[in-house]
């Protein structure tokens, strides 16, 4: 056998690869630096906050309909009024003041006159009229036009019979008058939605496509470069902003499809605020500390687990047997162990729902929903009263839901709870569009749904889900007496009185149990160790103005 010299290549290949990888890693493994030099203990100015969001479909207010896009709109635009991130209280924004007529059907907003667009032009009442009509224009097929459904002329515009909202008038540059089709005492909250902000017509007419990628707003931050699809949206401080100036220089909204990947990014120090993926909450609590109020992240108390103004509930098809019988509905509601769902599926983050109205919304009354307690014996009694003692003769029912995070785990527990009272439920799982198609067409027996508030008002939950005239009443619940109470409540101008009336409506509905509240949502987010006073509120929006970044590099 001929022995030859060992070919050098055999050793060189792995050596070169290893060297290349290590060099590359060294090159990129440098800590980011900041230029902040302020002394500790004081609010420090500057820095860019890196914030994880899902992939938005839109970032301009006419079309933004998911929380991802709305958060960006919120940072870039100011509406007539705003909500406090912690208390959800109403406060002036572009409008300095406003008033309504006696039955709350005509609202007049007086603009402060200080707000300017990022192109330097002053915001006028006509900019609101233009923006709202753009939302309602059927050509734009906006998913959020329902916000303005109370405005006079909404239907005519939707049907293509009118080109403007007859109910919206710019009296002068600083006065906006809105006439509604009916009295609606909560309308002052509706106009606080981030997407009902003004839009500069000249920018849209100049280049609508460019505006969609780099909207020109009137808020504390301006979009600094066109949206990099699937990657990021960058906003920087608007230097001429007349309201409270942000402490930070800007926000980089980093787009992540997968929360797990984003969380790894957070752990590696490249993200300042992210959601915590399911299964990681307890470890995150230990590693980063829990925020005392659940909303504010500060170093050492970084995990935000505060309740959101949202509810997870079971839909019962009130139009079809056997759930057209209130006693069957009550039995189902009483049979479900909500605490177990919270503990097992949600790591204790969410709370059992004892009403259809979440805490944090004015009008929430503990245990307002009559049959929201876990009581198997009482459930059996109601089932027997309905003619099904121990479930005898009860048909096998379909438990329909869409595949998605946690739904199957929840439904497995619900299925077991129903079994305990003698009700056999079979899974009927579909993808989300198919599932919602079934629900909207009434082709289901028991389903699931979630409802988050667009504005912190009780009407957002009560009217939408329980009034027979609402398109979102997927339980097909029809109670004329309740409809009357809701209609009356909507027209009451005095807030306290109005809320009392809504409470009456909730109690009425709770007695009838058309839907089954399961859990109150809570967010599970975490902030970095350099992030101070960072509030993520119950409406799912983050306050980028009050927070500040410590000069040290990301943790």
């Amino acid at each position: 056998m001929v022995r030859t010299r060992k070919p050098a290549l055999y050793g060189i290949i792995p050596a070169l690869l290893l060297t290349g990888v290590l060099l590359a890693m060294t090159a990129c493994g440098q800590e980011p630096t900041t230029s902040t030099t302020a002394a500790g203990g004081e609010i420090q100015k500057g820095g860019t906050l890196v914030y994880q969001i899902g992939n938005p479909s839109f970032i301009e207010p006419t079309q933004a309909f998911e929380s991802e896009g709305i958060e960006i709109v919120q940072a870039v635009f100011d509406s007539l009024v705003q909500f406090d991130y912690l208390t959800n209280e109403l406060a002036p924004d572009v409008a300095a003041s406003w008033e309504a007529n006696e039955d709350a059907s005509v609202w007049t907003f007086h603009l402060s006159g200080e707000s300017t667009f990022h192109n330097g032009r002053k915001v006028t009442a006509a900019d609101f009229k233009y923006a709202w009509e753009r939302i309602c224009d059927p050509v734009n097929k906006s998913n959020i036009s329902y916000h303005l459904s109370a405005v006079k002329g909404f239907d005519e515009m939707g049907e293509g019979a009118a080109t403007e909202l007859s109910g919206v008038k710019a009296i002068d540059d600083e006065t906006l008058e809105v006439t509604l089709s009916y009295g609606y005492g909560d309308f002052e909250y509706v106009v606080g939605h981030p997407c009902l902000c003004p839009i500069p017509k000249e920018e849209v007419e100049k280049d609508a496509a460019a505006f969609a990628l780099k909207p020109i707003g009137n808020g504390p931050f301006m979009v600094s470069e066109p949206w990099a699809a699937s990657r990021y949206v960058r906003v920087v401080k608007y230097p001429d902003y007349k309201g409270t100036q942000p402490n930070i220089d800007g926000v980089e909204f980093k787009i992540f499809e997968d929360v797990e990947t984003a969380y790894l990014g957070f752990q590696a120090g490249s993200i300042d605020s992210t959601q915590i993926p399911p299964g990681n909450v307890n470890a995150a609590k230990t590693a980063y500390g829990v925020s005392p109020d659940g909303y504010t992240s500060n170093p050492g108390a970084q995990v935000q687990l505060g309740p959101e103004l949202a509810i997870y509930y079971m839909l019962l098809n009130n139009e079809a047997e056997p759930f057209d019988d209130p006693d069957v509905r009550r039995a189902v509601s009483l049979a479900i162990n909500r605490q177990a769902i919270c503990d097992i599926v949600h790591e204790g983050v969410r709370k059992p729902a004892d009403s259809f109205i979440p805490p944090g919304v004015a009008g929430y009354v503990p245990e307002a929903w009559a049959y929201s307690k876990y009581d198997v014996e009482a459930a059996k009694e109601h089932l027997a009263k309905a003619g099904y003692p121990d479930g005898a003769g009860f048909p096998i029912i379909k438990l329909s839901f869409n595949s998605g995070p946690g739904h199957e785990d929840i439904m497995t527990l619900v299925q077991a709870d129903l079994k305990a009272i003698g009700v056999t439920a079979e899974f009927d799982v579909s993808d989300a569009p198919t599932y919602w198609d079934k629900v909207q067409n009434g082709n289901y027996q028991i389903g699931r749904s979630g409802w988050g508030a667009d504005y912190p008002i009780i009407d957002s939950f009560v009217y939408s889900n329980l009034a027979s005239t609402s398109a979102d009443n997927f339980a097909n619940y029809n109670n004329p007496a309740l409809d009357e109470v809701i209609t009356a409540a909507r027209q009451i101008k005095a807030t306290d009185e109005r809320i009392k009336k809504y409470e009456e409506a909730v109690a009425m509905a709770g007695e009838d149990c058309p839907v089954v509240p399961i859990t109150f949502y809570a967010h599970s987010r975490v902030g970095s160790a350099r992030l101070h006073d960072f509030v993520h509120g119950g409406l799912g929006m983050s306050d980028f103005v009050s927070c500040w970044l410590e000069g040290a590099a990301a943790q």
């Binding site: 293509g160 990099a228 499809e257 398109a471």
Partner: protein
């Protein structure tokens, strides 16, 4: 040769049309439940006028064959329609992402070629040695490990743990950052995407080389007094590489089409991730358009491989003439 190329191109046409038919049928409301109008305008209540407008704009009131004809006519003009969800032309959405997917596939192919071949050669030359066992074991693991698990594991190790241990680390989460894409962004996703193929490439190289090394002409070459290196590189490799090169060429097509999982795990802004999102939202124009783009690219890549193979092996292009 030109006749061969023309024949291959003509063969592609019915395949392509067949795929568009299948894709179109799959998305039709007759097969998949769900109202397309609702996918376009959302779940909230809309006016009948708007509903009718959307139906008319999308020819949803017309028979399926008419809708297909309309789709195909637009397709040949390069129009893949508008996204239901994003309300923008699908071509714009996909072509923003396509370069990222192509770059990732090419990097993966490079990794596959370099590491796969090197491991295969090492394994064959050092048969039954420690190195051979190491390669055999590593390839078995790489073939068995799911892509998403490998991707997450690499990120935890080289992104999180290395940083915590004070070692040089990889910014594997920065695919969305402004400085994307630099060389470092490709290391982990490229390795992950290449993992299974790399193992196959190593195994094919090993088996081919071992087979060739057992041939008479190899013994003759050694008997003539050639060094072992010359025997392997000049005589062995040339013959062993033909099936390997074919595998690598075909694999590029498979990689372009197979990036979905890797892109998802690494948040890679490519066509695969876009298709994944669109499937979840049932944004059919993106799903259909994305698959058509990938199919088209795979067909082109395969065509190029076939043509190059015909260059390498004249028997292929003369087959018909011989008959």
């Amino acid at each position: 040769m030109l006749a061969y190329i023309a024949r291959r191109v003509v063969q592609m046409i019915p395949v392509f049309i067949g795929i568009t038919v299948i894709l179109f049928l799959i998305r039709s409301p007759a097969i998949v439940p769900g109202d397309p109008v609702r996918m376009i305008v959302g779940e909230r209540a809309i006016s009948q006028a708007l509903y009718d407008q959307v139906v008319k704009e999308n020819a949803l009131d017309k028979p399926l064959y008419y809708q297909y004809g309309r789709y195909l006519t637009r397709l040949v003009q390069g129009d893949l329609g508008d996204s239901y969800q994003l309300k923008r032309p699908v071509t714009h959405i996909l072509f923003e992402k396509l370069p990222n997917t192509l770059k990732l596939a090419l990097v993966a192919l490079l990794i596959e070629t370099v590491i796969g071949l090197a491991a295969g050669i090492l394994s064959a030359v050092k048969k039954y040695s420690f190195w051979d066992m190491l390669v055999t074991l590593s390839t078995a693991i790489l073939v068995s490990v799911p892509v998403f698990w490998l991707g997450m594991g690499l990120q935890v190790l080289f992104g999180v743990k290395f940083k915590q241990w004070g070692l040089p680390y990889l910014p594997v989460y920065d695919m969305t950052s402004r400085d994307f894409s630099t060389v470092v962004h490709f290391i982990m996703p490229g390795f992950t995407l290449a993992s299974a193929s790399m193992a196959y490439a190593a195994r094919i190289t090993r088996s081919q080389l071992l087979e060739v090394m057992g041939q008479d002409y190899m013994r003759t070459a050694a008997a003539k007094g050639l060094s072992r290196r010359d025997v392997i590189w000049k005589h062995g490799m040339k013959n062993a590489m033909i099936p390997v090169v074919t595998f690598l060429g075909m694999d590029l097509g498979a990689m372009v089409g197979g990036t979905i999982l890797t892109e998802m795990v690494f948040n890679w802004p490519g066509v695969g991730l876009e298709i994944y999102n669109a499937i979840q939202l049932r944004d059919w124009p993106i799903v259909t358009g994305g698959v058509i783009v990938i199919v088209f690219m795979v067909m082109i890549i395969n065509l190029i491989v076939d043509i190059s193979y015909a260059f390498l092996d004249p028997r292929i292009r003369y087959t018909k003439a011989v008959k």
